[in-house]
């Protein structure tokens, strides 16, 4: 029996929800709008919302002046590389824990999770020192490995919760039908695992893209990703609102779009399967 809802109540709900949604989204909207203004319009009092001369000038300046492409490439390399590397290491581990569980599987999983809770600042100097000694400071490879390690527990966990949902009976059935181990992995398990792997990839790409402790502390000019590029605007240069907005919009746009696709996985990935 569905609850009968009066149209009036639905209108109130809709108005309230849209109002609050708009308010929460407003800082992002404002940043995007400002990125199309001239610097003078950007700080105009009273503020101008839509009725201004839209310009792409800020984007041109940011792209020209700041070597934006390199920061973007560093972000893509570090976020993508750490996610792929993490998947390569985590898939076999999660696979074996889900399909050949032992008495210790649960303890191992919980222990892995506990490494994620290690506060980064507690190991800042050792990592810094190791990076200097190995010549990894300000290198994309070093940062990729660190981000892979901090996200590895989440990757293992997410994959584990997905793999566990693959019913074991299907494996037995395929074995009865004479499938070899290779057939089993390639034609039975893999197709069922692909959606889980894809969502894990998506969420971890987002997390690595936005990571802002190690990316700020282990990079300088060469390997700095977008997080560090934006942080450089906290200098007086940040007073150029329109350019700051253009740079910010370019840094967050790809992730906003990816993020909206990963809403459901977000809950699962970040609560380690405790809320589905």
């Amino acid at each position: 029996m569905a609850r009968s809802v009066t149209t009036q109540r639905k209108i109130i709900n809709t108005a309230a929800a849209w109002g609050i949604g708009f308010l929460i989204f407003f800082p992002i909207l404002w940043t995007i709008l400002t990125s199309f203004k001239t610097e003078a319009t950007a700080i105009a009092d009273p503020p101008v919302f839509l009725a201004f001369d839209w310009t792409l000038e800020n984007y041109e300046v940011v792209l020209e002046r700041s070597n934006y492409a390199r920061f973007l490439w560093n972000s893509v390399f570090i976020a993508g590389g750490s996610t792929l590397l993490g998947l390569i290491i985590a898939i076999p581990a999660a696979w074996s824990m889900a399909f050949v569980p032992s008495r210790r599987t649960k303890d191992i999983l919980l222990w892995m999770l506990s490494t994620k809770m290690l506060p980064a600042v507690g190991v800042l100097y050792p990592i810094y020192l190791i990076f200097i000694k190995m010549g990894l400071l300000d290198s994309r490879i070093g940062l990729t490995v660190v981000l892979m390690l901090i996200n590895l527990p989440i990757i293992v966990w997410m994959l584990y919760t997905y793999f566990r949902e693959i019913p074991g009976e299907i494996l037995e059935a395929s074995r009865m039908d004479g499938a070899t181990l290779k057939d089993e992995i390639l034609y039975v398990l893999t197709p069922m695992a692909v959606p889980g792997i894809a969502s894990t990839l998506l969420l971890n790409f987002i997390l690595a893209w936005n990571e802002a402790f190690w990316t700020l502390n282990l990079t300088a000019a060469k390997a700095a990703p977008l997080t560090a590029f934006i942080a450089s605007y906290s200098s007086p240069e940040g007073l150029f609102y329109a350019k700051l907005s253009a740079a910010s919009t370019m840094a967050i746009a790809p992730i906003l779009i990816l993020g909206w696709f990963s809403q459901k996985q977000l809950v699962r990935g970040l609560t380690f399967g405790a809320v589905k």
Partner: protein
């Protein structure tokens, strides 16, 4: 069905992940522990020998310690309070029948995907700037003197920025939990004449308690180590130096590695206390 053979294969498949994480945990942590018992100033004389628990004592007796504990507590508790209260309300609202629910959800979740440096800078410059910020314009429109947010109300401003980033997370998880609530139970209560407030207090809230606990624990772990938001706004001045930021300054800015490492060990212990509680809940769920 697992044979001896498949079990050793499984162990082999787990080995890389386990070994890497073990190394990632043990090597740096051992080094931090090692440094924490030394007087070690790389810029001013280097390794000056063992000092026992000196660094641990000096860290907690320094004049910066208690203010940093206060700042940490204010930020963590403030953000938790705001995100949980508004998260519950927002989740309930979003669960109601309405038009365009999917779009509203997208709008509400968006801040979570904004990188911390961007959200901190956008808030700092475009909203909280005392001359050109939107808040300043708004205040002036009402004839009020603009507030210098990040110096006069620094902690509150940081709480506001961080809450904006984490409200989507709380809302999304609480909404997921609410949607699993059996609506027939609510209907039955409504038919029996239970007012809205008691329906919320006796049915919805107890149902959400587990999700709220998870939100609190996970956010606490992340909030204890927020860094970029302070790094690009106040740099730890105006009373916003949290424990994390204090340790960062000891280690990288003043290059007092021994002292910073002792602080780091404190942070690790603190995080582990939180982690134990979270593990219990997650572990219980694993059995089910």
């Amino acid at each position: 069905m697992a044979t001896q053979h498949s079990r050793s294969a499984a162990r082999l498949m787990m080995a890389p992940a386990v070994i890497l994480l073990l190394g990632w945990m043990l090597v740096p942590l051992t080094m931090t522990l090692f440094f924490s018992f030394k007087k070690y100033l790389p810029m001013r004389g280097g390794d000056l020998g063992w000092v026992g628990f000196d660094n641990y004592i000096r860290f907690v007796t320094s004049s910066a310690f208690w203010p940093s504990v206060t700042a940490t507590l204010v930020i963590v508790l403030g953000v938790l309070f705001i995100t949980v209260v508004f998260g519950v309300l927002l989740a309930i609202l979003l669960d109601q029948p309405m038009w365009g629910q999917g779009i509203v959800r997208i709008l509400v979740i968006a801040p979570f995907f904004v990188m911390p440096t961007v959200s901190a800078l956008v808030w700092k410059n475009m909203f909280m700037d005392p001359v050109n910020g939107l808040f300043a314009h708004l205040w002036q429109a009402f004839g009020l003197t603009p507030v210098e947010w990040l110096s006069q109300a620094s902690l509150g401003s940081i709480v506001m920025i961080v809450s904006w980033q984490w409200l989507p997370f709380a809302t999304l998880i609480l909404l997921t939990a609410i949607q699993s609530l059996d609506s027939e139970q609510l209907e039955a209560a409504e038919m029996d004449g239970a007012p809205a407030l008691s329906r919320f207090g006796f049915i919805t809230l107890p149902h959400l308690s587990r999700a709220i606990t998870i939100v609190v624990l996970i956010q606490t772990i992340f909030l204890l180590s927020i860094f970029a938001e302070i790094f690009v706004t106040t740099q730890g001045s105006f009373g916003t130096r949290t424990l994390t930021y204090l340790i960062y300054q000891r280690v990288l800015e003043s290059q007092n590695i021994g002292l910073g490492s002792a602080g780091g060990i404190y942070a690790v212990i603190l995080a582990n206390i939180m982690a134990v509680f979270l593990m219990r809940i997650v572990g219980k769920n694993l059995d089910a």
